[in-house]
Amino acid sequence: MEDRIRDVRLDNGLRVLVKEMHTAPVASFWLWYRVGSRNEVQGITGISHWVEHMMFKGTERFPKGAIDREIARLGGTFNAMTWLDFTAYYATLPAQHISLALEIEADRMVNSRFDPDEVEAERTVILSERHMYENYPTFLLSEQVTAVALLVHPYRHETIGWESDLRTMTRDDLYRHYRTYYTPSNATAVAVGDFDGEAMIDRIVQAFGHLPPGPPVPPVRVQEPPQRGERRVTVTGPGSTRYLEVAYRAPAATEDDWFAFAVLDTVLGGAKAFSTRGPSPNARTSRLYRALVDGGLAANVGTFLMPTLDPYLYTITVTLLPNSDPEEVEGVVFDEIRRLQREPISAAELEKAQKQVRAQFAFSAESVSSQAYWLGFSSTIADVDWFLDFLGRVERVTEADVQRVAERYLAPSQRTVGWYEPQVNAGK
């Protein structure tokens, strides 16, 4: 297997990352745009995600339904994802057919139609997606906690957007967003798989090289003001189970603190894949699992830390057992955080956390799509070096770094505490 990553920038600004991988006769092509809910303002929340849906609704060359059909009939899988910092499109195909994915992405970067009837049909689909999420108490809780924890940064709303915005956004809003952010200079193309690397770069140049670069995208200037004290929010709704979510401000991915935070999280909440794809490994030796689940207070506990462009949130979510005392559960969570602040983690815990991260990386090397994901993701939120140095930066974290990060980010004044209170006959 050739480990080399070819890294090229085309004249129109498109960043190109190519890696050969010959373990299976497949290839994966991704196009990453630096646009997500981070680039949205009130009134058009959810617009990046909606634009993503419209990208499947047709161009002159690939009318509606054609993309789905053309990729699927060659045995490929495809989809797209929108999150805080990015919108990504991908297709994984038998290697000999990967050029189709390049042609589709180059075409719909500039030629998507945004037919008004299709926009209206998609409005109800997107509302239906939002309603599906609303059926889950943990979504309702998380949406409120995030909006309270962040006062002004656009990370404060969910990628799906607020319902009123989804009801009122227009076709022209969507089209303007598309024209503003879907440009070669705001995108990264990634190809990983069973092909010749040089030839793949030539094919990408051929497909994308003639596209105009587009104007620079509007900068996101908003900075979240400092938090000056604990915040609390309660959500009531149907159900029989109580949930607790505690959120703290987390550092941006490029800061050294992020890697110390990742080690902290591995000790506190268990090993992570740090990816939006795939399940997390076992986490029963994490401090929170031991204290809450083995301690007989909770049915489950999970923590969340993701690499992001701007500082985002670190969250802890607890599913309570029916008879648990909410105050006691809160107390146990805060005790565990205090412990991280008062005493350094042990050398054994540090070593274990580092080994866990190494193992996760080895697992992610198995598939072309997860390799392509990591290359595109890291170049979007930081740089390719961020991914290549990941293990090294984790190895350099010390016990003292973890303690310092715990003190700096997990102070009581920096937390937002959210409770989901089930009400058997909650009215609307």
Binding site: T23, E120, V125, M132, N135, A299, K352
Partner: protein
């Protein structure tokens, strides 16, 4: 037919690349090498599951499986967790209907000691009382959460109405609050001592270990495992078809959306109709973004974020159903559209190009599913689990391409009877 055969069958796992060893205790060992990354994936099953539990003890088999990792003759709960997690591995045991499945994912260098741990978990669990109580409490919380989950409630109602009470699919493997509550440690120990045995089971290792070495390690680990004298297992009952039409509604107040499950029991995975049904199901609700259902329910009418169909694999009558999540006042319209698409598939021959596209998709996506160690391990395990032969995956492309439009129409007409199926809906009651 001019559709390309988009896959080189020699790259697919088959008898030439799967090492095989049969143990005297009835366990089948398999291994396939892959040195692309320093990791291995081990997967196995034994023939024990919820079909072996009494209906009034629904959830017992799955609870027993959950308790295996809570302490063994040689390792405490804490030691088990430490051994697995200190090397970044994952180890899971899950109790299904017909089989109990276990998986282990680790770096190759860490695999042998973890396999010993796995063997101890499967052979000598101690069911510590404290953990019995704790796992039960956690399970009950999950079951109570489920009562407020419209997707889960619609699915549960579908199975209850599509399968008769004596069939194991009638009840969920996780059980009900009322059946889990009374379960005791004695029930669990008795179930374990009666049913857990290697005979008829299989273990496969895929990854960065020479195949001979892998088989040796597996044999050392599982060779001494003894069977339960006199255990017999009645065959899985088959369902009489067609069903009487049946509609059921499970109210869950204050939800934003309703979920629909519409379908019926179909055929076992070994049945000759199964592959034509795979093709028919792809056309109905998988291909592209969810086939014809996606086109009519999602694209044309904008009723739902998701509308698709599923054909399960099972040694009994595999469930075949459509699912959709829609606004509560659109349930009737969505059901009508789904029924219409099912009827059309049973009435009209699928056009050639649509049929060819679907067959190419089913065959062409094989290498993608077999890209990781986990994908290969699960595919090999299923070939043994369902007794399909180790060349099943290699023969699969050719057999899919043999399916013609008439076969698709016939299986759709036979099994997807839109007027003799179960329609299960869960959502807010006032709609």
């Amino acid at each position: 037919m001019d559709a390309p055969v988009p896959v080189d069958v020699r790259t697919l796992p088959g008898p030439e690349t799967i090492a095989l060893r049969q143990l005297p205790n009835g366990l089948t060992l398999l291994a396939r090498e892959n040195f692309a990354s320093p990791a291995v994936f081990v997967a196995g099953f034994i023939r024990v599951g919820s079909q072996d539990e009494a209906p009034e003890q629904a959830g017992l088999a799955s609870l027993v499986a959950s308790l295996l990792t809570r302490g063994t003759r040689s390792f405490t709960y804490e030691e088990i967790n430490e051994r697995v997690e200190s090397v970044g591995a994952s180890l899971r045991v899950s109790g299904g209907t017909h089989t109990t499945t276990f998986t282990l994912k680790s770096l190759a260098e860490d695999a042998p000691p973890l396999l010993e741990l796995l063997a101890d978990i499967l052979r000598a669990p101690t069911f510590p009382d404290e953990h019995v109580q704790r796992v039960k409490r956690q399970r009950l919380t999950v079951l109570k959460e489920r009562e407020h989950n419209t997707q889960a409630m619609a699915m549960l109602a579908f199975y209850e109405h599509a399968y008769p009470p004596e069939h194991p699919y009638h009840r969920p493997t996780s059980g009900h609050v009322s059946t889990v509550e009374p379960l005791t440690r004695d029930d669990m120990v008795r179930f374990f001592e009666t049913h857990y045995e290697p005979c008829g089971g299989a273990v496969v290792l895929v990854g960065a270990m020479p195949a001979d070495e892998a088989l040796d390690v597996l044999e050392r680990t599982f060779g001494e495992w003894e069977n339960r004298p006199g255990r017999t297992r009645p065959p899985v009952p088959q369902v009489a078809l067609p069903l009487a039409p049946d509609e059921v509604f499970r109210p869950v107040p204050d939800k934003s959306q309703s979920d629909i499950v519409l379908g019926a029991p179909a055929m076992p995975v070994k049945h000759p109709d199964y592959l034509p049904a795979v093709v028919a199901n792809s056309i109905l609700g998988v291909f592209g973004l969810m086939g014809r259902l996606g086109e009519s329910v999602r694209d044309e009418e904008g009723l739902a974020y998701y509308a698709r169909s599923v054909l399960q694999r099972s040694p009994s009558n595999s469930p075949w159903y459509a699912v959709a999540g829609v606004a509560p006042d659109q349930v009737e319209r969505a059901v009508e559209l789904i029924r219409g698409e099912m009827r059309r598939l049973g009435d009209e021959l699928v056009p050639d190009d649509e049929l060819d596209d679907n067959k190419s998709f089913i065959v062409g996506s094989l290498p993608l599913r077999l890209e990781t160690n986990e994908g290969v391990a699960m595919a090999i395990l299923d070939m043994v689990r369902y007794d399909l032969g180790l060349d099943y995956v290699q023969r699969f492309p050719e057999r899919v391409f043999e399916v013609d439009a008439e076969a698709v129409r016939r299986v759709a007409a036979t099994y997807l009877r839109p007027d003799a199926c179960v329609v299960a809906v869960s959502g807010p009651p006032e709609a």
